[in-house]
C-alpha cells in the first residue's frame, strides 16, 4: 500500500550572512536528509525543540519553500514537480493549520467567508451552496451555525482554531498539516481541540502531520513519532514503542525533561540533566549533531555521522550507542541491525 504522504531525503539550507556581493558566507542547515511517511487515517507526530527544523520540513513538503534535495509524494503525485495551478490544487489536498489563530484568520471577513474561501478558489460561486457547506463545516468542528455570521474578534482562541480547522477541511483533504496548532491555547481549550482532531480522523479518515514541541501531547495524538534534532530525524517509530524504549539519548532526554503533572511522580523521577542548549544550525556539530550534549558521546560520535539503526520493526534511531540503551524495563534489547545502504 502506498503511503498517503511520502517524504524522502529532504534537505534545505538557507543562506545566512552574505558577503558584499550577495554570496552566502554561511549556511543554516535547517533540514538535513529527512525522510518520513504519513499513512492514510493516521497521525505522524514530529517533535523537536526550537531550531530542530520541524516547521521548515512542513513548509518544504507543501512547496512553500523549495528544498535543495529530496522528493515529496502525495499519493501518486510528485508535489515538488508541480507548478502554478497544480501546486495550488495540491496544497488544497494537504492544508496547514498554524499556531496562532489570531493572525491566521482575516479579521475583516465573517466566518462563513473564511471557511468557504477554499471552495470559492476552486470556482464555487453559488451562495446557497457555500452557505450550506459553511454550516456543515461548522457542525463538523462543533460550532453552532450562528457562528457563520461572526467575525474572528468575537471568538475565543479555541473557537478560532476550530474555524481554522474548518477551513482546512473545506476541500475534503486527505492530510492536514498541524504546525503547533494547539500550542497557543489554554489547557482546557487545547484538550477540546485534541479530542476534535481525533473525532475528525475517525469520521473522515484524514491523516495528520502533527508538529509540536510538546512530547506529552504528541504521545496522546500520534500513532507514529519522529524526533528531530538540528535538522535530522534522530529517532522514529510507533509512538508507544518509542516511549517504551527510547533508543536515542536525545529522545530519552526529551522524555525525562518534560515535567509530569503529578508532584509525587515528578519528584521521584531519575532525571539526569542534559547539558547545554541546542547549538546554532549555522554550525552543526560534526559527526552526530547531539554529541556536544550527549552523556554517551565517544570519539566516533564526534567524527562520524551515525547510521540509522533498527531497534525493532519500524523503529529506528540514528545513534552509535544504541546497544547501551537502558532497555525498557521489561524485555531485552535485540541486537542492533544495520539497515541496508539507502
Amino acid at each position: 500500500m502506498t503511503a498517503l504522504l511520502e517524504v524522502s531525503n529532504l534537505a534545505k539550507a538557507f543562506p545566512a550572512r552574505r558577503t558584499g556581493f550577495g554570496r552566502a558566507r554561511a549556511w543554516v542547515h535547517a533540514v538535513r536528509d529527512v525522510s518520513f511517511a504519513v499513512e492514510h487515517g493516521r497521525t505522524l507526530g514530529v517533535v523537536g525543540e526550537s531550531g530542530s527544523g520541524k516547521s521548515t520540513a512542513a513548509r518544504l513538503l507543501l512547496g512553500l519553500v523549495r528544498p535543495d534535495a529530496g522528493t515529496v509524494r502525495l499519493g501518486e503525485v510528485d508535489v515538488l514537480a508541480a507548478r502554478g495551478a497544480d501546486l495550488h490544487a495540491l496544497r488544497r489536498r494537504m492544508p496547514m493549520v498554524f499556531q496562532d489563530p489570531y493572525s491566521s484568520l482575516d479579521p475583516t471577513w465573517v466566518v462563513r467567508d473564511i471557511v468557504t474561501e477554499p471552495l470559492r478558489l476552486v470556482g464555487e460561486r453559488s451562495r446557497p451552496v457555500l452557505g450550506a457547506r459553511a454550516e456543515e463545516l461548522l457542525e463538523l468542528v462543533g460550532l453552532a451555525p450562528a457562528f457563520a455570521r461572526r467575525y474572528p474578534h468575537e471568538l475565543s482562541g479555541g473557537q478560532r482554531q476550530r474555524i481554522a480547522l474548518a477551513r482546512a477541511l473545506a476541500c475534503e483533504p486527505d492530510l492536514v498539516v498541524l504546525d503547533e496548532a494547539v500550542a497557543a491555547l489554554d489547557v482546557s481549550t487545547r484538550a477540546g481541540i485534541i479530542n476534535l482532531l481525533q473525532d475528525l480522523q475517525d469520521r473522515l479518515g484524514v491523516g495528520y502531520l502533527f508538529i509540536s514541541h510538546d512530547l506529552a501531547l504528541v504521545r496522546v495524538v500520534s500513532h507514529d513519532l519522529a524526533v528531530m534534532y538540528l535538522g535530522r530525524i534522530v529517532e522514529s517509530g510507533p509512538t508507544e514503542q518509542v516511549y517504551a524504549r527510547p533508543a536515542h539519548p536525545y529522545t530519552r532526554a526529551l522524555i525525562a525533561a518534560a515535567p509530569v503533572p503529578d508532584p509525587v511522580v515528578q519528584r521521584a523521577r531519575d532525571r539526569p540533566p542534559v547539558r547545554g542548549e541546542v547549538p546554532s544550525a549555522l554550525a552543526v556539530p560534526s559527526g552526530c549533531a547531539f554529541h556536544t550534549r550527549c552523556p554517551l558521546a565517544t570519539d566516533v560520535c564526534r567524527t562520524t555521522e551515525p547510521p540509522e539503526v533498527a531497534i525493532a520493526p519500524g523503529h529506528t534511531a540514528a545513534c552509535h550507542h544504541t546497544e547501551s540503551v537502558p532497555g525498557p524495563r521489561s524485555e531485552p534489547v535485540p541486537e542492533p541491525v544495520l539497515k541496508g545502504t539507502s
Binding site: 525543540e49 484538550a191 506529552a216 515535567p259 503529578d262 532525571r271 540533566p273
Partner: protein, 330 residues
C-alpha cells in the same frame, strides 16, 4: 515537606484590582490573598485571563495607567507596599523583590553588555564604585551558572542563547539579595531541556538563600515540579489553595479537578475538557464563577458570592458543595 512555621515575608491580603473601561471600572482581581514564607515556593496557576499576572503586577505596583489597586494590602516584611511612594517603591523593585519574566530578551537591553546591565542594577540600589559593581556582576553570573563569567560579562545579549539570557535576567533579579523572587512564566519561552535547567537553578537559589519564590505558571507539570503550595485562580479569584501534594492528589474545587484531567496522559486515552469558556468580567455569574461550566453544578451555586471555605488548616476551596462533593469523591 516544609513546616509552615516561618512568618511569611510576602503577605497579600484581599487584593482588589480594577481596570477602567468605557462603562466604568471592572474588578479583575477580586480579593486575592497569598502568603509566601522564606525558602518556600508558592505556585500561582490559572489559564489566560484568570488574573495571575495582574496579581503579580499589582504586587510590584506595575499596573500601568488603566488598572489600579482598589483594595487590600501587600505586606512585604510587614510594610504595606500599596502605601509606599513612587521612589520608595522603586527601591523595592529589584531590591527586596526580584523579578523574572517570560521573555528574557525584553528584559535585556541589546545595546549594553550583559555585565554592564547586571552591574547597573547593583549600582541602582547600592552606592558602590563601578569596579566593585562589575565584580559583583561577574559573581552573580557565576552563581546562575554562566560558564567563564569573566569573559561572558563582556558579551551582548544577542550572543547568548535563550536559556543563558534567562540566567542573566535571574542574575539581575538576585543582584541586591532580594527576599522575594517573583517569577512570571519564567520557562514558558524556553525549550524543555533548558526549562529543566532553569527550574533546577531557581530551586537551588531558593534553597541556598531562603528566597521566597512566587512562581506563576499555566503549566501544571512545572508547578508539580517546583512548588510547595499552590493557589489556583479562576476569573479573578483564588478558587483553591493547598499544599502541592494535596492539590494534585485530592483537589476539592471542581475547576482544579477538571484542569488536572485536561492534561494529556497515556496514549489512546481521551482528554477531559471543560465545556464553555471563561466568563467575561462584565458578565460574571451571580454566584460561583465556575458554575456555568461545572459538572457538579446545583441550584445553590448561583445564590451569591462563594467564600473560600476551610478544608483543613492548609487547604481552602471556594465551592458551596464542598462537603457533598467530598462524599461523592470518597
Amino acid at each position: 515537606m516544609k513546616a509552615p512555621v516561618l512568618e511569611p515575608v510576602l503577605d497579600v491580603r484581599d487584593l482588589v484590582v480594577e481596570v477602567g473601561t468605557a462603562h466604568g471600572p471592572l474588578v479583575v482581581v477580586d480579593g486575592v490573598s497569598l502568603a509566601v514564607a522564606p525558602g518556600e515556593t508558592l505556585g500561582l496557576v490559572g489559564e489566560s485571563g484568570s488574573g495571575k499576572t495582574l496579581t503579580a503586577l499589582a504586587v510590584m505596583r506595575l499596573l500601568g495607567s488603566s488598572a489600579r489597586i482598589a483594595g487590600g494590602q501587600v505586606l512585604l516584611e510587614g510594610t504595606d507596599l500599596t502605601t509606599l511612594g513612587v521612589k520608595q517603591m522603586r527601591e523595592v523593585r529589584g531590591g527586596r523583590i526580584g523579578m523574572v519574566f517570560q521573555e528574557p530578551m525584553t528584559a535585556l537591553d541589546p545595546a549594553y553588555t550583559v555585565g554592564e546591565q547586571v552591574a547597573e542594577t547593583v549600582r541602582r540600589h547600592r552606592r558602590v564604585p563601578r569596579k566593585q559593581a562589575w565584580k559583583r556582576a561577574v559573581e552573580l553570573l557565576d552563581r546562575v551558572g554562566i560558564p567563564s563569567p569573566e569573559r561572558r560579562a563582556r558579551d551582548y545579549p544577542h550572543h547568548f542563547s535563550g536559556g543563558m539570557r534567562q540566567r542573566v535576567v535571574i542574575a539581575m533579579a538576585l543582584s541586591c539579595d532580594p527576599v522575594v523572587l517573583l517569577a512570571d512564566e519564567p520557562t514558558t519561552a524556553l525549550d524543555v531541556t533548558v526549562q529543566e535547567q532553569i527550574l533546577t537553578l531557581l530551586a537551588g537559589l531558593r534553597d541556598e538563600s531562603g528566597l521566597a519564590l512566587l512562581f506563576i505558571s499555566h503549566d501544571l507539570g512545572v508547578i508539580a515540579d517546583i512548588c510547595d503550595r499552590v493557589a489556583v485562580m479562576y476569573a479573578g479569584q483564588v478558587v483553591e489553595t493547598a499544599p502541592v501534594h494535596d492539590l494534585f492528589a485530592a483537589p476539592r474545587h471542581p475547576y482544579t479537578d477538571a484542569l488536572l484531567h485536561c492534561v494529556p496522559g497515556a496514549a489512546g486515552t481521551r482528554l477531559a475538557t471543560i465545556p464553555g469558556t471563561v466568563p467575561a468580567f462584565d458578565a460574571l455569574p451571580p454566584g460561583c464563577r465556575f458554575a456555568p461550566r461545572c459538572a457538579h453544578v446545583a441550584p445553590g451555586c448561583d445564590d451569591g458570592p462563594v467564600a473560600l471555605e476551610i478544608v483543613d488548616p492548609a487547604h481552602r476551596a471556594r465551592c458551596v458543595r464542598l462537603d457533598e462533593l467530598a462524599e461523592v469523591a470518597s
